[in-house]
């Protein structure tokens, strides 16, 4: 029974994601668009031999942010608004089961993102020189951090406010995330601030392992702190009814 419920829930969550057209813009079109645009229009002038070597790790991180924070968070916020979360609370599907189904849905979306980003990246000249496994591990840690943040917002704000805040946060973290262009392009004070945010911490660490550069331990610590605190805060403050 349990696995049948989880499978059905994950399938329904996936169908709902696909029916939300704007969702696919944030999770797929924007990351792929940024990858192609910034690779072709050499607006970046990074230290990398090919801009795409800089961009692929950044866009992979951007995809995680879009899937785990924006997509999951906004959908969950509206499920809370419509009383769906409350209604599920009196079915045999446990909260753990719901969370597992949502996790599976986010991971499935991320797999699609990674495949598309890698295929497009390779087609425009990307080749990884570093640890794929370590990159995947970091993306998973990032998923935990951003899902925690997205659910914290979804479980505490009104659905419309959550929608606006999640989208605004997505933009801010994209600009300050070292994803489309290097952090070094930012003013120094802003760089220091940006390095405390989960977006830069994720993209810098993923980039380091994929390009076999010196590993930024400080950024890893920042990422881990977000990955621990955000889910705890979400679990503490999440309200199932709006």
């Amino acid at each position: 029974m349990r696995s049948r419920a989880l499978t059905a829930q994950a399938r329904a969550e996936t169908v709902l994601q696909l029916r939300q057209g704007e969702n696919l813009i944030v999770t797929l079109a924007i990351p792929l668009g940024i990858l192609v645009f910034f690779a072709k229009v050499d607006a970046v002038s990074t230290d990398y031999a090919h801009p795409v070597d800089f961009l692929v790790p950044g866009v992979l991180s951007l995809g995680v942010m879009a899937a785990a924070m924006v997509s999951l968070g906004i959908a969950t916020g509206f499920e809370r608004r419509y009383g769906v979360l409350k209604r599920l609370g009196s079915t045999p599907l446990s909260r753990g089961g719901l969370l597992a189904a949502k996790t599976a849905t986010v991971l499935a979306l991320e797999v699609v993102q990674v495949v598309l980003v890698v295929v497009v990246g390779v087609s425009i000249g990307w080749h990884a020189t570093g640890g794929i496994v370590a990159a995947i591990a970091l993306l998973l840690v990032g998923t935990v951090a951003f899902a925690g943040l997205g659910l914290l917002l979804a479980g505490t704000l009104r659905a419309e406010t959550n929608l606006a805040v999640a989208n605004a946060l997505f933009l801010v973290l994209l600009f300050l995330g070292g994803m489309a262009y290097p952090l070094a392009k930012l003013p120094t004070a802003l760089q220091d601030f940006a390095k405390l945010l989960p977006a830069a911490a994720l993209s810098e660490t993923v980039r380091a392992v994929l390009t076999s550069s010196a590993f930024p331990v400080g950024e890893l610590v920042v990422l881990l702190v977000w990955a621990v605190t955000m889910p705890l805060l979400a679990a503490r403050f999440f309200r199932w009814e709006e």
Binding site: A8, A12, G83, K86, S90, T91, P92, S94
Partner: protein, 313 residues
């Protein structure tokens, strides 16, 4: 008050000394009642009386501040894993994924339970077969209510909680819902419902509890509640302008006890004994006046409700 049943297996729902505050507001204030297995039980009360709070405590959404509740002998929060597969819930509003179609939603809910109803057949039963291609968000209020009812029944529950099940339904959907509740009763399913509609309570419920200000104001079958409220009053409707003095004489009451309340509506303050009703009929026959409506002896549940809730306000 009906005595609590001693045999725990015969009791589906227990509410004992239940108290629940929201901030300084005492939403439920020492409520006690039992619902027998297979009973259809109605919670009546004005808005804010504590009906929904009580039902949501039974559904495991909230915990009591004091007192305790049992559903099928179990604690709905502590024993949630055992209780939830055996109950069906219809919230007062919402609870449906807006971007699923009715059959998709029912299939999803069916997957939560071990031995569910057939989703397509149940959709047909609640009269939503024509809406299978429509997204939930495009359903009318009454259609969404019926889908919500189907979600409550999909798991073949032993106890069903329906919070204002017919609110927003057209008369046809209402009749369908009433029939579904009667079908549940025929299958010995326990139903606890809240309603504002007194005719609904009179039609469906074996017993009703009237709550006012979070307290139990009355408890019993609709017949019991209205029997206690025997009114020494005859009300009838006929042609306007009847001679009230002559009518009083014919009925053996004083002139002051007969009033034409509104044009063509008369109230006689006297017991509706068979003899007096016969006298009234003779009085009308002698004047060739048609009797349009007559009520005597008992007040409707609605009148009892209004009186009780006014006294407890």
């Amino acid at each position: 008050m009906t005595e609590p049943t001693a045999d725990p297996a015969a009791v589906a729902v227990v509410v004992a000394g239940l108290v629940k505050h929201y901030g300084a507001v005492r939403a439920v204030d020492g409520l006690t009642f039992d619902v027998a297995r297979g009973e259809v039980f109605g919670l009546l009360g004005p808005n804010g009386a504590g009906k929904t709070t009580t039902v949501e405590i039974l559904e495991g959404y909230r915990t009591p501040d004091r007192g305790h509740v049992r559903v099928l002998g179990l604690d709905p929060v502590a024993d949630a894993g055992v209780v939830r597969p055996r109950i069906g819930v219809m919230l007062q509003e919402g609870g449906l994924y807006p971007r699923l179609k009715p059959l998709e939603l029912l299939r999803l809910f069916a997957a939560y339970y071990d031995d569910p109803e057939d989703p397509a057949a149940l959709l047909d039963t609640v009269g939503l077969t024509d809406s299978t291609t429509t997204m939930v968000r495009r359903l009318s209020g009454g259609q969404a209510q019926r889908l919500s009812l189907a979600c409550a029944l999909i798991g073949r529950p032993d106890v069903v909680f329906l919070d204002e099940p017919t609110a927003g339904m057209d008369p046809h959907a209402r009749a369908t819902t009433w029939q579904l509740v009667r079908d549940l009763k025929a299958r010995s399913v326990t139903v606890l419902l809240t309603t504002h509609a007194m005719d609904e309570a009179e039609q469906l419920c074996d017993r009703v509890a009237i709550i006012a200000g979070g307290k139990l104001a009355a408890l019993g079958s609709p017949a019991e509640l209205t029997r206690h409220a025997v009114a020494d009053e005859i009300w009838f409707a006929a042609a306007p302008g009847l001679d009230c003095t002559a009518l009083a004489a014919a009925l053996g009451v004083t002139i002051a006890d007969v009033v034409e309340d509104r044009a063509g509506e008369y109230v006689v303050r006297a017991a509706g004994t068979p003899a007096r009703i016969a006298d009234l009929a003779c009085f009308l026959r002698d004047r060739n006046v048609t009797l349009a409506a007559l009520q005597a002896g008992r007040r409707s549940l609605e009148e009892v409700f209004l009186q009780i809730t006014a006294e407890n306000a």
